[in-house]
Symmetry: C2
Amino acid sequence: MKLASYFRSTAAYRVRIALNLKQIDHTLLPIHLIRDGGEHKQTDYQAHNPEGLVPALFTEDRVLSQSLAILEYLDETHPTPALLPNNALDRAYVRGLALSICCDIHPLNNLRVLQYLSGELQVSDAKKQAWYQHWIATGFTALETRLANHAATGEFCFGDSPSLADLCLVPQVYNANRFNCPLDDYPTIRRINERCLQEPSFSQAAPENQPDAE
Amino acid sequence: MKLASYFRSTAAYRVRIALNLKQIDHTLLPIHLIRDGGEHKQTDYQAHNPEGLVPALFTEDRVLSQSLAILEYLDETHPTPALLPNNALDRAYVRGLALSICCDIHPLNNLRVLQYLSGELQVSDAKKQAWYQHWIATGFTALETRLANHAATGEFCFGDSPSLADLCLVPQVYNANRFNCPLDDYPTIRRINERCLQEPSFSQAAPENQPDAE
């Protein structure tokens, strides 16, 4: 398998962790999101992936897009270690945690949105920073409440092994730190993030450890 | 089961369609997102659902949030008719279509984001409209390319029966129409949307047919 990735992409980071955790043989295809106006906007990449986003997973037969769809695919085809719990209610809970990051936080703060704010809307850097921090704070406050109160919260978001939720959490915390968002109010999130980063699968997937890191 | 819903909520609309399709006995709990500063922001609702968003599904044991997590849960616990195809690659494709709407379009255009643009960022109505249309156009252009070129596209997004992708597509098209987005360039999307709305499961879930419709 080949993963189209950009070292700083939050969504690609999620999939890099899964490939490591499941020890799936793969190579990385770096797609630079800024250089030359963005390699993801080029025709040959978009021919494979019309959304022109990273990540994309090149399997033998198909090109898959959307990080959560890729993660579910990897979990179905390489079930060990499992990214989702055994019963349907718990799976819904873990998927809900992951989606609260992937739908409620990340889409508002990714590169193309920040570029639109600066460009088309002429938003100042200070207000762009406030926007970023607002959506992090809104999302992390809800997530902290859930994690701090749920009986199944363990070393990781669900129990004592990594799940789909952790794979989404760690890249989002990385991004929050990069944008200097204060995380004092989220002790459970910080604790789980630190625990995850003790795992080589997570730390090796970090942006600074990518071949295309700058 | 009880579904916390707001008639105009795109995400609640997705779940309403699924409950109808699978003929799951349920009642609606209307949560008004505007009246009284937003009923979703009130303490008793947030005690069940810290994100304070709709939909939320109240099962006998738990309250589930995040529409896609709810849809996967309903599909696992009420497998007929299935919302996902039989094999892993096809499931990844259908989930990818759904996520391209739920992650790349809808989060940028929902009520709280439009309120932030008008309020904190003092964006004019015209520029807010342009923002809305930009993300619809970006997302629908990619989706149209996928659907128009994929061999499995049939009467619906995948084959000749509704899937997870259609449940996300129809509410998004409804919303695009509400904001007067031109859809001329998306003939496949329009065709599938019209086909879906011939099904009572879809049409009965439409905003104007809800008990809390205004």
